[in-house]
Symmetry: C2
Subunit: 292 residues, 2 copies
């Protein structure tokens, strides 16, 4: 059944996601900060809007896909924000990766206006967005999740309701912790092999089938062997996501020593001009530390 959808944020992730919703037969009112980003959506049948507020007007579900916590706050709560257009009973779905605490705050603000909210961050990158195979981690009420699920199914494959508002962001943060720390482990192991004069490619082959096996050893391990750091997932964005982790951990009084260590290596990468390359480049920091 066709749903009236507001869609805000037409970047590298948002644009293909909006196109997939159109393909699935839904009616879209889109808003992108840069007007030229709306052109391909209009050609595919979407209505262009001049503000997040306008995109949310009349929509049953308004999806937000922007970069960081302040962007989402601006889009949802700002002067021309979604909160001023969304009708009571409608749902705001934030698919950006942002702070769980900020998510809970916005959910409360929207609830005060009778508007529901889901946080639904994704993993799978732009390739996952284009091919509609994103993993989607959802926080919010179960019944609201079920209402929005047909839209999620047009965008992704592994769609999991984790818990209350913010729980999707917490799961995404966990994802980024595991990915970051595993990258560091693989980087140290391959550098250990290399420094011992042993072919790190053969070591990776030997390890892939056993307990050391992971998607990161497979994909990022290969990038490390080839020193080919075309993203993939940019260091700058991984740093942004781990910053959310470290802020949240600080607020909660939780020590995450390995995540903090990798955060330093992402800082070092960005400082040395590698913010736009894949975060598998952490291996460069491990190598450089010991003069390799």
């Amino acid at each position: 059944m066709a749903i009236d959808v507001g869609f805000i944020g037409l970047g590298i992730m948002g644009r293909p996601m909006a196109l997939n919703l159109l393909k699935a037969g839904h009616r879209l009112r889109v808003y992108g900060r840069r007007p030229e980003t709306m052109q391909p959506l209009m050609q595919a049948g979407a209505t262009a809007c001049t503000s997040p507020r306008e995109a949310a007007e009349g929509a049953e579900v308004t999806i937000v896909m922007v970069s960081d916590t302040p962007d989402v706050e601006q889009v949802i709560l700002g002067a021309e924000g979604v909160i001023h257009g969304a009708r009571p009973g409608s749902v705001v779905v934030d698919m950006s990766t942002i702070s769980p605490a900020a998510t809970r705050f916005m959910a409360r603000e929207l609830a005060a206006n009778g508007v529901e909210m889901l946080d639904a961050p994704v993993s799978g990158g732009d390739v996952g967005a284009v091919n509609a195979i994103l993993s989607i981690m959802v926080g919010g009420k179960a019944e609201v999740f079920l209402r929005v699920k047909p839209l999620f199914e047009a965008l992704g494959k592994n769609i999991v309701h984790i818990g209350d508002n913010g729980a999707g962001q917490v799961a995404k943060a966990c994802n980024q912790i595991v990915v970051a720390v595993t990258i560091q482990g693989v980087a140290e192991a391959l550098t250990f092999a290399r420094k011992n004069g042993v072919d790190p490619g053969k070591v990776r082959d030997a390890l892939l089938g056993g307990f050391a096996g992971s998607k990161i050893l497979e994909v990022h391990g290969k990038r490390m062997l080839d020193h080919d750091f075309k993203p993939g997932f940019k260091t700058r964005l991984h740093q942004k996501d781990l910053d959310i982790v470290m802020q949240t951990a600080r607020e909660l009084g939780l020590a995450l020593p390995a995540a903090a260590l990798v955060m330093q290596n992402l800082n070092a990468l960005i400082g040395s001009g590698d913010g736009e390359v894949d975060s598998a480049a952490v291996v460069k920091v491990v190598e450089r530390m010991s003069g390799l």
Copy 2:
């Protein structure tokens, strides 16, 4: 074709491995420090010996499967060691997990007597040993590897020749680095979820299919959720293996910050009485640090 094999070390790993070699039709001369360990092998057709030297006498291949570097040195180079029994042209295969540097030293000592050496540490634990599905990482000459390969095929599945003497031990060390650091990453992520009031089991489910997916998230993540730390792979042995890593890194002048961090957590576990449980118990240290 039946091979005359000397087999030294009949513990939790060595005993089932020796039995698998007998089952494959090879002739075994066995030695275990505790005489009672030789009984089941004798019943299966092996000849019991009174020293490593005697086990190596007349053998084409002598396999060593003991605990740590000093044990292997004693078994191979000691007064009643393999080096005094092994005939020129025969092969000594050390399947223990020990120092790469000590391995290279012993390979040189044996070579001076005309005896070949392979290092062939395994992963897969006692279950892998019993079921002959061990992963075997091999260092030494390629032609020697090919000579011994029929024996490896009676013991394991994923059999990889990594490089020269010591390269098998380096690969095993890499395996232990990746496993240790990934355990830490999974422990921090699941603790982050828990401290945020989010169900860590649902987070694990959501993460398994994506880039955070790994054998460790699957197996050790489950152990962490259940707080069921029945080994598996004992903390005490993981500490021993990471100690080899850290010693080797020190000798090479190589910094491995995340591996060093996990080493501290293994130390803390052992100090708090958890040396005999699975090293997934690292999550207990992460939890305790922040009073969980």
